[in-house]
Symmetry: C2
DNA sequence: TCTCATGTAATTCTATATGTTACGAATAGG
DNA sequence: CCTATTCGTAACATATAGAATTACATGAGA
C-alpha cells in the first residue's frame, strides 16, 4: 500500500504517513519499497505484535492528559498532589499496558474481517 | 488571596487565575470579594471536597492523551481498535475516578503542613 | 530515461491554551 | 465623595505542538 493510499484511509498527509511508518520500519514491523509497485508491506507476524509493542515503537507517547506537570516541583502544594496521585497513575498505566499487551494485530484483523463481512451482508 | 498573588504562586497570569477560579466560584467552593482587601476565600469544608469533585467542577477535561479520536468512526479498522480498548479505558477511568474521590483537600492540606514543617526543620 | 515511490529536511499552517490589554463594576479607606 | 484596589469579562495577541506542505534527493522498474 502506498503512503498516498494510506493517507487517504487515515485522512492524513502522505508525508505524515511516511514519518510514522518510518518508526514501524525501523522496528522491523513493516518494509518499504520504492519505485513502481512500491509501497508499504507488513513484515511481522500479526499474532506476535501487540498494541503495547506498537506503543513502545511509536515512542511511548504520554498516556494521560492530566497529572504530573513537573516531576520535582518546588511548590509544596504541587508536591502534595503529586504524592497523593503518583501511585494511582502508576496503577492505571500498568492496567492499560497489560491490556495493550493482550491485543494483537491478528485479533484486530479477525474483528475487522467480521465487521467487513457483516457490512457486506447488510448491504445485500 | 488575590488573583495577583495566586498567579505568582502558580506561575500564571492573574486573568487566567480568575478564569479558572471563576469555575470554582460558580460551584460554591470559593468566594471572591472585590475592592480593598478583596480576593479569593475558601467557601467549602476541606474534608468534603475531593479531587474528583474538582475535576467535575473544572469541566471534566479529558483524562487520556491516547485512544478514541472519533466516537463513531466510519473506518472499520478504527472501529475494531475502539472495540478492543473501550472496556480498558472505561476501567482505567473508573480506577482514576475512584482514587480522585478518595483524596480530599483536607488530606492535601495535612500533607502540605507536614512538608512545610519538615522544610522549616531542615533550614534551621 | 522517465515515472513512480520512499526518505527527509525545511517551512508553513492550524488549533488550543495561555498571556495580555482594556474597561466595567463593586468595595473600602481617606 | 473620590480614589485605589480588586474581581468580571470580553477582545485580542502570543506561544506551542502537531500536522500539512513544499522541496529535493534516492532508488526501482517499465
Amino acid at each position: 500500500m502506498t503512503s498516498e493510499a494510506l493517507g487517504q484511509c487515515l485522512g492524513a498527509h502522505p508525508v505524515v504517513v511516511r514519518r510514522t511508518m518510518g518508526l514501524l520500519r525501523e522496528a522491523g514491523l513493516v518494509s518499504a519499497e520504492r519505485g513502481h509497485n512500491g509501497g508499504w508491506r507488513i513484515a511481522a507476524d500479526l499474532e506476535t505484535v501487540s498494541l503495547r509493542q506498537l506503543h513502545i515503537v511509536l515512542g511511548e507517547p504520554a498516556l494521560f492528559a492530566v497529572g504530573h506537570r513537573n516531576e520535582a516541583p518546588e511548590c509544596l502544594v504541587e508536591q502534595a498532589v503529586n504524592a497523593a496521585l503518583e501511585g494511582t497513575f502508576a496503577e492505571a498505566e500498568a492496567l492499560l499496558m497489560a491490556r495493550f499487551a493482550d491485543v494483537t494485530l491478528a485479533d484486530l484483523a479477525r474483528d475487522f474481517a467480521r465487521r467487513h463481512a457483516e457490512r457486506r451482508t447488510r448491504q445485500e
